[in-house]
Symmetry: C2
Subunit: 488 residues, 2 copies
Amino acid sequence: MANKITERTEDFSQWYQDVIREGKLADHSPVRGSMVIRPNGFALWENMKQALDQMFKDTGHENAYFPLFIPKSFLSKEAKHVEGFAKECAVVTHSRLRSTDDGVEVDPESKLEEELIVRPTSETIIWDSYRNWIQSYRDLPILINQWANVVRWEMRTRLFLRTMEFLWQEGHTAHATKQEAVEETTRMLEVYRTFAEDFMAMPVIKGVKTESERFAGAEDTYCIETLLQDNKALQAGTSHFLGQNFAKAFDVKFQSSEGEHEYVWATSWGVSTRLIGGLIMTHSDDQGLVLPPKLAPNQVVIVPIWKSDEEKEEVMDYCDDIVSELKERDIRVKVDDRENMSPGWKFNEHEATGIPVRLTIGPRDLKNNNAELARRDTLDKNIVEREGLAQRVDDLLKTIQEKLYTTAKERIEDNTHSVDSYDEFKDIIENEGGFVYAHWDGTAETEEKIKEETKATIRCIPLEDGEEGECMVTGKPSKQKVLFARAY
Amino acid sequence: MANKITERTEDFSQWYQDVIREGKLADHSPVRGSMVIRPNGFALWENMKQALDQMFKDTGHENAYFPLFIPKSFLSKEAKHVEGFAKECAVVTHSRLRSTDDGVEVDPESKLEEELIVRPTSETIIWDSYRNWIQSYRDLPILINQWANVVRWEMRTRLFLRTMEFLWQEGHTAHATKQEAVEETTRMLEVYRTFAEDFMAMPVIKGVKTESERFAGAEDTYCIETLLQDNKALQAGTSHFLGQNFAKAFDVKFQSSEGEHEYVWATSWGVSTRLIGGLIMTHSDDQGLVLPPKLAPNQVVIVPIWKSDEEKEEVMDYCDDIVSELKERDIRVKVDDRENMSPGWKFNEHEATGIPVRLTIGPRDLKNNNAELARRDTLDKNIVEREGLAQRVDDLLKTIQEKLYTTAKERIEDNTHSVDSYDEFKDIIENEGGFVYAHWDGTAETEEKIKEETKATIRCIPLEDGEEGECMVTGKPSKQKVLFARAY
Ligand SMILES: [Zn+2]
Ligand SMILES: [Zn+2]
């Protein structure tokens, strides 16, 4: 089979689409900007969900479900919130179709009194509920997460990275004190960092957004940012300290232990199927998808090879034993015993779909008590002994997980610069890309000027302390260097 | 605490609402007909999902995700399908809001060229994808399931049983032969029966719908039907044999192994959060929610009782050991050590939220090496020995699971009648309710006449063979008695 994947150096954007298609992750849908998540893509998302969900539960959160539709008037209640989302809303205006000679049309008599917005995010509908749930400090904190679909009417879409409808989780918490809410915000940011690095093998930098990049309605937006193979940055998760903004908009007060009536403090935080785009652009290569073993739907595939029926029985017995040993170790393994497909064809498919480890077993392996072991990340192949195979595979999966992280970490470090002059900044942004640390005077004007002149944005003000200095553009004082990049 | 739950005999409908409120399962939402699923309700749904999902995977299905929005023209492609859903659709017509002096309004300039329908079910959008995925018999079968939210603009809604938006799973399979598709349809019906009876402890009858009750676009609709405590029936799950209707509507053909081009055969099948309504009305009582242990978010709650700090430490140690022993057996247990709440207040809450088993542990229990064990279903309490406690609780959970099933089974049997005359039929439907088996001549006219005169509908034609006879209304020949009831 000819490799159907464009090389990264040739056309990164086409490569990305090819990896998704050959990896059987997703399709474009006939609804502009929407996508179909195929079984291989969805199984990956399910593994991501499961790991995140456990981390949310371990930090005391419960899941719930709030309505898809938000009354238009709710959006207006928080001024900045509606400003941020009004221009990209799917609006439901009618509740019925009627027949015509050649199909159906919207029945004008079914026009709604108040239009409904398909949720772009759920702060408003949730805080409307919280008003009913919260009376006293005893009802706090509320620590709720929701797994849901949301819709934002994006004009320029790209599979996973930016789609009109996407899947995500949104945490929405309510607290008695500012301090608790701020702690929650940073706790969940750390959950996201852990997930990105330990499960996705995707190194990230933690920081806080500038005012102009803040979530609509937030007091502070914390984020994790990563750098992809084309040297563009990706915001991979956000955690918002919402202050008392939504409590005030929805009139949610509680009686404190001292008997005072106070507004409730809020956070929200989310990651989405966009992470899958980041995962692909972090690890995949010109052969297709590369997946970290912790998240791969199948961690190991076994390809049995035989000629006669007698060989088939022996080979399959040999494979079955290996499967049992791997499953005992909770390794996700499948046997690809499809007939009418050559081993080479299968190998290509397994590479393109990102299965971390492949075992090939033929009659010769039975005779010699061997197996052929192939690694997806390095494409290395080795003949290994049957004895101790399960332990070896188990170790190899851990090795691959670590290797993907360190490779990505080194790549990002190699593509991170720290500059002192605006000329140097422009040169690197234009010619190399990547992360660039530079001093900035803290004003929206300078931020905007840099963005206009270089297309680079401030990804975040890193949480790690930095040294003081002077803005590379204006020369005004700067507390620390901030992180710039061109971004998705 | 006064019991806030209306008695069933007094007002069944109010009782149902009270059980949901006190069980912390769901709230009404400000969007008419929508609901908020609260953490206790959602944890129940998660357990149901997990059990069903495993059964789907065990029968070879994979999960995927298709878009929320369906182009209006897609719905029209299958004539009966659009007829069935056109009158209850949420229609998206615009993609933007704009500011006004006192809020926001729909921006008329954002009107869509083609309106989008919020999916009421996904056959059309999925078969549009299947056209791209299926070329040859080698691509078949496709066995896909989707967990999703769907919207049907219902006018009369009731929490869980009928809501505008609900959560469900929808299986959509594609097959090379009619026989395979029919087998899939009945296989999934059996999966639903198993889930209803073995997990929900909710006895059901399997059957096939009459033509007038068939899913819009199906050749045959199979169903499971149960009978609730108010003697009304509930359709709890459906599995549709779709023939080649959607393949023809979306032009999905495959090349058979003989080289012929043929239309693909289809099934679809689904259950929804409506099942939670059925679960409540099957088992709950005047104290509130009763849950089968296999699905209960918490299977055991431990209430520690102490007066001094010294007592507290001893009691908590004693409880911690019990928790460890229960967790070793994979029993879901929580300790309710909230302060400032009396044991009685907690007991009421645990009863109302349906925790199957409660253990109360005080200083006296430590001294005597005992525990107080209470069963939610029977409200029995016993002092039991500490030794062997985990085993006893484990056994008790199984006993409760079985007891709930047999109690429901007996109730349904006691409320199932078989009649030969229409007078007897009308008498029972009007005065007792319940399931009534009777002969019917197989015509839509007679079915409609019975419905108009008695409000009873044919729930299904049971899959079990019955004896021939004469229609109770027209005297015409009948192949077997069919199952009637008034239904939700
Ligand atoms: Zn450089
Ligand atoms: Zn009777």
